[in-house]
């Protein structure tokens, strides 16, 4: 039941619990309890809204920043990752295999704001060896949702 609930709300967290119970063939109390449990266990870590800021007319820039660092003794990458993810403008930090170590997603209002963050905050951090900043030009798909307009082919209204 947990997996079914999670699969459903992963794509659509705004749901009436009674309705979700009907769809999954169970009762509302069970669904509510399972969700409460999973929130407590931090299986469900939060509920977010996917927003197309462009359409909302709000200026915003997203950047992906590759960061190469020297891991610190006994703490590996965790300490340095923490120093980065504590900044509120940082929306994601991942440890990555391959040519660099951390991938940082940054949301800013303007290009200038983002570059300032990189030069003033990120680069001076001890053990940051280098950074490479990529600005996102257009979001086609985010969190499994296609953002660009998609024409829906019409089925015939009645077929046997």
């Amino acid at each position: 039941m947990r997996t079914q609930i999670l699969k459903y709300i992963e794509k659509k967290s705004k749901v009436d619990l009674g309705e979700l119970a009907v769809l999954l063939g169970t009762d509302e109390v069970t669904v509510a309890n399972e969700i409460a449990e999973m929130e407590k266990e931090k299986i469900i870590c939060g509920y977010h809204t996917l927003i197309d800021w462009d359409k909302a007319g709000v200026e915003s820039v997203t950047a992906l920043i590759e960061v190469r660092v020297t891991p610190q003794r006994n703490q590996g990458f965790d300490k340095i990752a923490e120093r980065i993810y504590n900044y509120p403008e940082v929306s994601a930090v991942y440890l990555i295999s391959g040519a660099y170590d951390l991938l940082v997603t940054l949301e800013g209002k303007t290009l200038k704001e983002v570059s300032q963050f990189v030069s003033d905050k990120l680069s001076p951090v001890d053990s940051v060896l280098s950074t490479a900043t990529h600005f996102i030009l257009k979001k086609y798909k985010d969190h499994g949702t296609i953002l660009v307009k998609k024409s829906k082919p019409e089925r015939m209204p009645v077929t046997l």
């Binding site: 699969k7 769809l23 209204p157 009645v158 046997l160």
Partner: protein, 389 residues
């Protein structure tokens, strides 16, 4: 001038939904629950494969019975899904949709006067295809009290010395009824006792919501007397690709290949390559669609209970078949008024046989949001009808 037309053809009634279709097409704000095809796009990897093979120039005829790789994948799939083992070399034919399979199976097996048993309500092609193949259709009216399953008694009662073929349309369009292993066992006994052949239309096999779909061909001694029809339209959301297949005894399949060869040549090459990809790597996509249909099914069963529309719980395909007998009007009157007054299009049960009178076919190949809106209108309509009385 002489009459240019064949009497056999002119005697066949056209499909009963034409006028509905015309009215709905002219109504931009109508909601339809009348569609018999998935609302999902064909999974992207299948479409990608279709595009890739076009780019590669794989655009020639395949062999008449179909692409070898596809026939091999079909056999593996049937082995995996319904535990029936077919030889890809002579027991499989790839057809233009399951509907071609039905047509050529009947044509390959019938002599004039042979009787074909057709349980109804069921898909509309069995009866005319039987007539076109010079067979005599014999309808078995299924009953709501049996959840529209075929019973051994009903079957036994319809058999005559001329009976040759039984059509088995499960999971069923329009009722959503399925037949489990236990339901099929007594049917198998009767079929063997009377030496009948079976055309088993399993096009909705992937859309079974109560345990795995069971094929009648999987029973001992039944593979020899069954033509199993299946395809990609429903489970893989590939209606427009027009691709299906038929499997059965080599003796029958080879004659079907003959008709197919002269009438069709081969199924679309592009679709066949895409279907190989469908069978090799789309299990997860199919499962996801099945789960979505199942959620809508539960939703509708729940809603019908709430608004008090009498209905048995269907476990297959993507249809639900509520009874409207309490309103004392025919299915067609009901459907017409519902369309006029609330702009909701549904197909009257009678489109699938006379015994569909008093029922409606409602398709749930729609999003929950669409279904909610439609149910709201339907509820308003039946509340009005109840107040009129």
């Amino acid at each position: 001038m002489r009459n240019p037309l064949s009497q056999k053809v002119t005697s066949i009634a056209p499909s009963g939904i034409r006028k509905f279709f015309d009215v709905v097409s002219e109504m931009p704000d109508a909601i339809s629950l009348g569609v018999g095809e998935p609302d999902f796009d064909t999974p992207w990897r299948i479409r990608e494969e279709g595009i890739y093979t076009l780019e590669k120039g794989k655009t020639f005829y395949t062999s008449n019975a179909g692409l070898k790789e596809l026939k091999i994948e079909i056999c593996k799939y049937l082995d995996r899904k319904v535990n029936v083992q077919y030889n890809y070399q002579n027991e499989v034919i790839v057809t233009v949709g399951g509907s071609e399979g039905i047509d050529i199976a009947l044509r390959a097996m019938l002599d004039p006067g042979d009787e074909v048993l057709i349980p109804q309500p069921s898909y509309v092609s069995y009866l005319p295809c039987t007539v076109l193949a010079d067979g005599v259709p014999v309808v078995i009216p299924l009953q709501e009290k049996n959840e529209f399953k075929l019973t051994a008694e009903e079957l036994e009662a319809a058999i005559t010395p001329k009976t040759k073929i039984l059509v088995m349309p499960f999971p069923n369009n329009p009722t959503g009824s399925i037949m489990t292993k236990e339901d099929l066992e007594p049917i198998v006994e009767v079929v063997k006792k009377h030496d009948l052949f079976v055309i088993s239309d399993e096009i909705y096999s992937e859309l079974s919501y109560k345990g795995e779909h069971v094929s009648i061909a999987s029973f001992e001694g039944m593979k020899e007397r069954t033509i199993l029809i299946n395809g990609f339209s429903k489970g893989f959301a590939m209606t427009g690709w027009r691709l299906g297949y038929a499997c059965g005894p080599a003796e029958i399949i080879s004659q079907m290949v003959k008709i197919h060869q002269y009438a069709i040549m081969c199924a679309p090459t592009n679709s066949q390559y895409a279907a190989v990809e469908a069978l090799r790597s789309c299990e997860a996509e199919v499962e996801e669609m099945r789960e979505a249909y199942n959620q809508r099914r539960r939703f509708l069963v729940h809603e019908f209970k709430r608004i008090g529309l009498d209905c048995f719980e269907p476990f297959g395909a993507f249809y639900i078949f509520p009874s409207i007998k309490e309103f004392g009007m025919t299915s067609e009157e009901f459907a017409t008024r519902l369309l006029e007054e609330e702009k909701v299009a549904i197909v009257p049960g009678t489109a699938f046989g006379d015994c569909g009178e008093g029922f409606l076919r409602i398709s749930y190949a729609y999003s929950i949001e669409d279904l909610k809106e439609a149910i709201g209108r339907l509820e308003r309509f039946i509340t009005r009808l109840r107040n009129e009385k």
